[in-house]
Symmetry: C2
Subunit: 118 residues, 2 copies
DNA sequence: TCTAGTCACTTTCAAATTAAAAGTTATGAG
DNA sequence: CTCATAACTTTTAATTTGAAAGTGACTAGA
């Protein structure tokens, strides 16, 4: 017994950065979370964002975020049933990550400009 | 003339989060930057990190980080020539992004524990 | 000189992921 | 019926990733 089998989500190492990237280290996940932060709630609204996330990727990412309890899904109407996604406290805690990225992007990437309020 | 052609690095939209993710939105890039923050400098040191980045991916990411002037490469010896990578000011400015990820990971991912100093 | 070893990559190729587009399901409106 | 909408799912091709082996420039040792 050499590898002590990392608990839970930590797939590669116990480093919190590696663990975080195992969940949201890709091109799309944090954009969905950004959308939730600015008040978007539905599948259609996420799809309508200017970056144009592919539909299958969106479905996959929402599923992962649900599994990790970063977002919640509740029906906002019956017949036909339609869903609203919202951030959990765990998801809202990602605000600082987004904020740091906004700051870095605005300071260092020419042409980037904040759309996010706050 | 409908699409005003986004300047420079902004591939998908002018949102600073999207622009930032265009550069470092993947599973490995921020781990290399983490390594640089803790003082690792050489290709071999990056490869030796516990997550085990594949060699071709490491080469690709270092190239991208050089292109974006997030890291610099300088020979630290001749005959045979060997290189040291270091963060530029632009790269060091990513400290807040890493810090936010460490905080979130430690608070929300069971089993994750900081290895990074400060 | 021959052999082994180190470092910093590069190449190869199979497997996994992503992207684009079209299709599905449930339902209401006309 | 037929059309429209929201929320997905499926299909298929293209791209990216990962694992492993290979390369080039040397150095040190037998």
């Amino acid at each position: 017994m050499s590898k002590p089998s990392l608990p839970h989500s930590c797939k590669r190492s116990p480093c919190p950065i590696a663990c975080t990237l195992d969940i949201l280290g890709d091109k799309w996940t944090l954009l969905v979370i950004r959308d939730l932060f600015v008040g978007k709630k539905t599948y259609g609204e996420f799809q309508a964002s200017p970056e144009g996330i592919p539909s299958n990727i969106l479905a996959d990412r929402l599923k992962r975020l649900l599994e990790h309890e970063i977002v919640e899904k509740t029906p906002y109407q019956q017949r036909p049933v339609r869903y609203a996604y919202t951030l959990t406290p765990k998801g809202r805690a990602l605000g600082n990550v987004l904020k740091a990225m906004v700051q870095w992007g605005e300071a260092h990437i020419p042409g980037s400009q904040a759309l996010m309020k706050r």
